[in-house]
Every structure is written in C-alpha cells, then in structure tokens.
C-alpha cells in the first residue's frame, strides 16, 4: 500500500501547487503510475486543461500539450490522428469538460477517438474561485449560486460517465473516486484498463473521478473526503457504465 505515497517516475520532481486536501494530486499519481507500469510513459502525450490542473504539463513526466479551455479532446484528436501508435490522454475538470467543452468531448467519443480522458469531477470551478459547475449538486452553494443551485433555474447535474456510455464510439466509461484506499485501488485498476484498451485500439475510453475541493467547498480536507462519500456518491453513483471488453457492455 505504501506505493501510493511514493513519487512515481511518471511525475516530475516539481512540488504541486494544489491546496492541502485536494485529490488532484492523487489522481495525477494514479495516472502517472499506470503509464509507467504499462511501459507507455515514453510514448505518451498528455493534454492539459484549463482549470486547477492547468499546470499538469509541469507535473507529468511525459510530453504535454496545453489546450484552450474545454478544447482538450479536439487537441488530443489532432495529436492521435498524427501519432496513432502513441498513447494520448486528456486530463480535464468538470467546467472544462462538461460546460465549455461539452461539444468536443461528445464528438471525440462519437468518432471513437483512440485516446483516454481522465475527467476530474469536483462539482465546482476550482481555479476561478468556486463558481457553479454543471456537476454542482442541487442546493450546493457556489459563488455564482449564492443561495445554492436551484433546480428550477439551473436544472440538475450532468452525469458524464453515463452520457459517454450512450455514445457508440466509447469503448469504456466508468466512475470511480479516490477518497480512501479501497476506492483508490479501484480507480487505479480503472485507469490502467482505460490505457490498455486505448492501446488495443478498442476506442475512446473515459474515467470519471470524483475529487475534492476543500478550498471552494469551505470544508477541511477530512470533511471534504466525507462529503464525497456521504453526498456526492449518491448523486454520482460509482460503477462501470460501458465496457466493450465484457458481454454486458452495450
């Protein structure tokens, strides 16, 4: 188990800028380890989003490409079409992927682009200071929803992993979290599987990870982990929504 607390060689030596208790760092680590263990790192190109993980291009120890806000799947498409043998992934937040970049992610999946998307869902806009995200829960407060997200005004959260599962070109769509060790191990397996399926040419692979934002949720790191387990998971159930490898996969 100690492995989780060791710096992977898939990550650079730079100190990460994430807030205390933010699980972006854990997710970076799982992605990096998967790339190292599957022996893919040297041939990987990652696409960084615009969000708190914008500096991911400094943290992953592989070639990285910065994208405009929401456009990572289009950039990744360009990369993968030029370099079909290489491993390509995008790492995106919920504002980036499920708001401004909704068209790009849906169409990348529709075309069955052979890259992997790691979707970090923390139910808020972290970088810009806690504004409402498409994944913000009904009633959850945000700086642009001061009285909480109102269903009549803003509808209900988008469930991206389920949506991706309905798209033909998507080979794998799952939702995991990293709030404790058992969940982390499942997340680790899911991320590996996604990269493996990419390299086997199965199609587009999508891993949604429920993540914390203690800073903008106004919680301590411990409270934030608890909130994911007690509240967020109820809205965003964990599980595999599509798996082209298994019979049940639609």
């Amino acid at each position: 188990m100690a492995i989780v607390y060791q710096k992977s060689k898939g990550l650079t030596d730079l100190e990460m800028h994430y807030c205390p208790g933010c699980t972006h760092g854990v997710i970076h680590k799982l992605v990096a380890e998967a790339l190292v263990d599957l022996n893919l790192l040297e041939h990987t190109i990652g696409v960084a989003p615009v969000g708190c993980s914008v500096f991911a291009y400094n943290y992953f120890n592989c070639d990285m490409h910065e994208a405009a806000h929401g456009r990572a799947p289009a950039v990744a498409t360009g990369i993968k079409r030029v370099l079909p043998q290489n491993t390509v992934f995008t790492y995106q937040g919920d504002g980036d992927l499920a708001a401004i970049g909704t068209a790009e992610i849906i169409h990348a999946a529709m075309r069955g682009e052979h890259f992997t998307t790691i979707f970090v869902n923390n139910a808020i806009y972290g970088m810009t200071g806690g504004q409402m995200a498409p994944t913000t829960l009904v009633g959850q407060k945000a700086t642009t929803a001061p009285h909480g997200r109102d269903r009549a005004h803003y509808g209900q959260p988008l469930h991206m992993a389920e949506i991706m599962a309905t798209i033909g070109g998507a080979a794998y769509s799952t939702r995991v979290t990293v709030v404790d060790m058992p969940h982390m191990m499942k997340a680790r397996t899911a991320i590996r599987k996604a990269f493996q399926m990419q390299m086997e040419g199965k199609g587009f692979t999508f891993v949604e990870v429920l993540s914390t934002c203690p800073t903008n949720w106004g919680m301590t790191p411990v409270e934030a982990l608890g909130w994911v387990k007690d509240t967020m998971i109820n809205e965003f159930p964990l599980g595999v929504f599509k798996d082209a490898d298994s019979k049940e996969g639609s």
Partner: protein, 193 residues
C-alpha cells in the same frame, strides 16, 4: 500628505482586511483612497499583498512600488519589500512570526507581536486589528469613532460583541506602538506593556 502603504503576508493573515479597513476608514475621514490587491493562484496559501494609497490630493497611481509605510506580516514580505521602502519611511513588523530585524537604519521600524497580543485578548483572529492599531497610532489616520462605525456595520446580530473586542485589539496595538520598546528588535516576542 500621501501615504503609500504596502501590506504583505500569508493568505489568511488578514492582509487584505487591514488594507480595506485603512482605505475605507481613510475615505470616511475625508481622504482620497485606493486599494489594490495582488490576485491570482499564488494567493492560495501563498503570499498576498495589497497597496493602499491615502492622500489629501487626487490619487495618481494605485500601485505602491516604493512604500512610505510597509506592513510586513511575515518574513518573506520583509525580505522582499523592505528594501523598497523610501528613506525616512516606516516599517511595521509582525514580530510574532518575523524572525529577523530591519537592518536599514534610514527607516523607522516598529515590532508588533500581534499574535501574542491577540492571544492575550483571547482571540487569535484579531491579530490584524492589533497591527492596524499600531499603524494608526503612528500615522494618526483614523479616529476610533470611525473604526467603531465601520466595525458596527460589519459585525451585527450575534456577532455584535466582536466590535468591542476588535476595538480593544486596536487600542492594544496603539499602546504597543506608543511604547519605545516597540522599536527595539527582540526575538523573544514578548509583549511589552
């Protein structure tokens, strides 16, 4: 008269609040004022600073590069901005955590153990008001009545008791600055009253 004030410290030390109180109080006292924060991701647990200009003349630039008065709430702030203070300027040091003396001899330094004084008042969160009290004693910018009026607008209902606490912090800060010992560096962080 123009005060070019730079206030710097860690995020969460009330740096922005000291600046806003000075600016708003200055405005209520009839001065021209401006307040300009540093902004960006570096504020996340990192350093924060703000520029406040208080003048009896029109304010030209809100950016304070060469402060007439520096409030250094932590050591990196003193290291970074100390050299920019104008000759004859004033440097207020949060001696509770700044672990070095002001080396320059052409400025006046005031060492204020804000946290020890706040602790004495039973609430560590008023440390920034203690600093404000010290600064205000030396500059004479704000009357206590003005500060009271602002605090009363800020703390209402169940929080109304915080008005007196903050005013007491202001007075303790002023008393600290009134004591000559305040101008002598000591690393014992003792509150000399």
């Amino acid at each position: 008269m123009t005060h070019d004030i730079l206030i710097s410290g860690f995020g969460g030390q009330g740096v922005m609040a000291i600046g806003k109180t000075l600016a708003e109080g200055g405005m209520k006292e009839g001065y021209e004022v401006s307040w300009l924060p540093s902004y960006g991701p570096e504020m996340r647990g990192g350093t924060a600073n703000c520029s406040v200009v208080i003048s009896d003349d029109m304010i030209i630039s809100p950016i304070v590069l060469e402060p007439t008065l520096l409030i250094a709430m932590n050591t990196p702030s003193l290291v970074k901005f100390g050299p920019n203070v104008i000759p004859e300027g004033k440097v207020f040091v949060n001696s509770s955590i700044v672990d070095m003396a002001v080396e320059r001899t052409d400025v006046s330094a005031y060492y204020v153990p804000t946290m020890e004084i706040a602790q004495k008042l039973g609430n560590p969160r008023v440390a920034n008001m203690v600093m404000l009290g010290a600064v205000n004693h030396v500059t004479g910018l704000l009357r206590e009545e003005t500060v009271r009026e602002m605090l009363s607008q800020l703390f209402t209902g169940p929080k109304a008791n915080l008005v007196e606490l903050n005013l007491e912090a202001l007075r303790m800060g002023a008393a600290c600055a009134a004591n000559d010992a305040c101008m002598i560096w000591s690393n014992t962080h003792e509150y000399h009253d």
